[in-house]
Symmetry: C2
Subunit: 150 residues, 2 copies
C-alpha cells in the first residue's frame, strides 16, 4: 500500500494516460493430509470455507488499493487487476512480462538477513528475473514522506 | 547509460525541477606489493600514472552522462556529480542516504547465477540497504525501447 501510494504521488504523471495494473498473488492451496496420511485433514466444506476466506481477503485488499488510486490519483487513473494463484515471485514475474509492463513497482518487507535467507526476497527475485525496470519502494521508518517530491 | 536514458525519458517530469545527481564510484587503489613482499610492485610514478588513467576514465564517463542529460532531458534538467572512491555498493548507499535522494536509479548488469554469486549484485545490495526507493533498470535484450512510455 505504501508503494502504491508513493507511485501515485511520484511516478504517475498528471499529463499521461498511465494504467496501473494491480497484481495480487494468492498463495497456492496447501493440501492438508491427516497425520496418519490416510486422508485429508479438512472436509470439502472446510476447504471451501478456507478458499472463501482467501478470496475475501484478496477482494478486500484489491478494493483498498482501488480506493487509494481513486483518492490519491491526480486524475482519472485507469486501474486494472490481475489475481493469480501461485508463488508470488512467479506470479509477479510472469504477469509483468505477459502484460509488457513499462515498470514493475514493488513494496519491500525489509526483512533482516536471517529472515531473508529463509524466506527469500520477492523483490530481489523479481528484480533479477523480470524484463522491465523494477522499482522497489521501502516503507521508511518514519512514514511521513509518502507525499515527498520526486 | 541505459538506465540514465530510460530515466530521462520516463522518470523525469517535464514540469518539475528535478535534479539528477550522478554518482560515480572509483574502485579503491589496490596496493600492489612485489612478489617477495619486500616492496611495492609499482613506482610512485607508475601509481600516479594509474591514478591519472582512472581519473580520466571517471571524467570521460561523467561527461558522457552529462551530455546525455543535456540532449535527452526535456527541459533544462539540473545535473550534479558525486565522485567517491570505494566499493560501489558502499559509495552508492552512503551517497544516496547522505543527499536524501528521492529515488535511486541503478543499472543492472544482469549477471547470471554463477557470476552473481562471486561478484555480488550491486543493485541487489543497494535495494536492500538504501533508505529511498530504488529503481533498477535493466538493458533489454533488444535495446529499442529506451524511449518507451511509462
Amino acid at each position: 500500500m505504501y508503494a502504491l501510494s508513493w507511485s501515485l504521488h511520484n511516478l504517475i504523471s498528471q499529463t499521461s494516460n498511465d494504467t496501473i495494473i494491480l497484481i495480487y498473488a494468492k498463495p497456492p492451496r496447501t493440501v492438508y493430509t491427516s497425520p496418519d496420511g490416510t486422508g485429508y485433514l479438512f472436509s470439502p466444506d472446510m476447504l471451501a470455507s478456507i478458499d472463501k476466506c482467501r478470496n475475501d481477503l484478496a477482494s478486500s485488499i484489491i478494493e483498498k488499493a482501488k480506493k487509494m488510486c481513486r483518492e490519491q490519483g491526480d486524475n482519472e487513473v485507469k486501474v486494472e487487476v490481475i489475481i493469480e494463484t501461485g508463488d508470488p515471485r512467479d506470479v509477479i514475474c510472469q504477469a509483468a512480462d505477459k502484460i509488457h509492463a513499462d515498470v514493475l513497482v514493488m513494496g519491500s518487507h525489509g526483512y533482516g538477513l536471517i529472515k531473508r535467507a529463509f524466506l527469500g526476497s520477492v523483490s530481489n527475485h523479481c528484480a533479477q528475473n523480470v524484463k522491465c525496470p523494477v522499482l522497489i519502494v521501502k516503507k521508511p521508518k518514519s512514514s511521513s514522506s509518502a507525499t515527498g517530491t520526486k
